[in-house]
């Protein structure tokens, strides 16, 4: 089995019916010249990489932009149509006065599985009190948190709000909440590795497509930027596969990881076991 922990369903046809909203979303998230795909085609594409479960990640910067680029309601609708395939995450804009209430609603009414926040886009530091309040909700509901970390390729988003070391405070403050640093905190991957060995409640995912192709990039990050044995010997229980689709197709991203020469048991952990643990569904 493979679980892709990082897909933005920006181009999933069932939530692309409104042209104006679709254009707004694509501009906000920096996806261009691509058309929506229906779910059957997406399932076929996921099948190529043997992906059986997918974390669907929304985006809410509504305090500044007036509405969410991908809303919790849209995520919930996709999950409800394919409950065996999709695991939906919630997003709220921490700058909204009712952010905590919105998050509680996403967990209790919509049944979403965790919180996704992009502090680079929100222009708010990870140690801000507003983030802490949302982490308190997650702690109360026993839900994990995925933080965008490192460079963000979206419009109007700044990496200084997503420096890896700045995520240490929420991770340390909430030892009962599982956190994931998405994109492995690229380019600060050594900082990510450092936090991973210190905090048992911290994970990172591999959604870091930015330079070259997956084979070259994953080799650079996991064999050169980090010690050749760090993944195999130190971080095997902390890394989750994530593609960052639609920036790259999941099957291609997975080929890059397959080419790293990791042992079969480590690949099993990276491809699904760590994701289950992150969700609190350890096998």
């Amino acid at each position: 089995m493979v679980i892709d922990t990082h897909i933005h369903p920006a181009l999933f046809a069932p939530i692309c019916q409104n042209e104006e909203h679709f254009a707004f979303r694509c501009n906000e998230m920096n996806y261009h010249l691509m058309k929506p795909s229906d779910i059957e085609l997406i399932k076929k594409q996921l099948g190529l990489a043997k992906i059986e479960k997918v974390f669907l990640l929304p985006e809410d910067c509504s305090y500044e932009k007036g509405k969410a680029a991908i809303s919790n309601e849209e995520i919930a609708a996709l999950v409800s149509a394919e409950p065996d395939l999709f695991i939906g995450f919630a997003a709220v804009d921490p700058r909204n006065d009712d952010a905590q209430a919105q998050l509680e609603d996403a967990f209790s009414r919509l049944g979403l599985a965790g919180l996704k926040l992009n502090t680079a886009k929100l222009k708010i530091f990870p140690y801000d009190e507003k983030i802490k309040k949302l982490c308190e909700v997650c702690s109360r509901y026993h839900k994990p948190v995925i933080f965008h970390s490192g460079l963000c390729l979206e419009e109007d988003a700044f990496a200084r709000y997503a420096r890896v070391a700045d995520f240490e405070e929420p991770v340390a403050h909430f030892p009962d909440v599982n956190f994931c640093l998405a994109h492995f905190g690229w380019p600060w991957v050594q900082e990510t590795a450092a936090l991973l060995i210190k905090y048992s409640n911290l994970y990172a995912n591999t959604a870091l497509m930015n330079f070259d192709g997956p084979v070259q990039l994953y080799h650079k990050v996991f064999k050169e930027d980090m010690g050749a044995y760090w993944v195999e010997h130190n971080l095997a229980d902390k890394i989750m596969f994530g593609s960052d689709s639609p920036r790259i197709r999941p099957a291609r991203s997975k080929k890059g990881l397959d080419a790293l020469g990791l042992s079969a048991d480590v690949l099993e952990k990276v491809y699904y076991k760590n994701a289950l643990k992150f969700l609190g569904q350890e096998e």
């Binding site: 594409q45 390729l153 070259d212 192709g213 639609p246 920036r247 790259i248 099957a251 080929k255």
Partner: protein
């Protein structure tokens, strides 16, 4: 002289696949109203191809494997980089290059309302960058 055009769609089951479209093309030509002329089968995409070859599984496998040997998918292609115009990584250089080798079209005579093909010949839509919904055109020119 009359001209007719029809678009058809196809979806592969794999990232690269030779998909036989002979019967679909024949049907379009037979129903288009052109009795004598030529038919062009043209893909609308730059990471796909149209070709004619013998429909034997071993031949299909040899074609696909030889293309992979010539154009290995993990080669560090120039196209493998972040494309600001898309917001994505260019991951389909092999598709563009394989498309060069099979070309984007084939041409066939139309005689008495039917497409003329050799005994061993089948028409293939070549997917090199799947899985996507793809389109190709059958364009017929001749006497109605």
């Amino acid at each position: 002289m009359d001209c007719r055009i029809k678009e058809l769609s196809v979806i592969a089951d794999a990232e690269t696949q030779l998909i036989k479209i002979t019967e679909d093309v024949k049907r379009v030509v037979e129903n288009c109203g052109i009795s004598n002329g030529v038919a062009f089968v043209i893909t609308l995409h730059t990471t796909t191809g149209i070709t004619i070859n013998e429909s034997l599984p071993c031949v299909e496998k040899d074609i696909e494997e030889q293309l992979e040997r010539l154009i290995p998918s993990d080669y560090p292609f120039h196209h493998n980089h972040y494309l600001p115009s898309y917001g994505t990584i260019g991951g389909n250089a092999p598709g563009h290059l394989k498309s060069l080798l099979t070309g984007n079209h084939c041409v066939l005579p139309v005689i008495d309302g039917k497409v003329k093909l050799g005994e061993a010949a089948d028409i293939y839509f070549c997917e090199y960058d799947g899985i996507k919904k793809r389109r190709y055109m059958v364009y017929c020119m001749g006497e109605a």
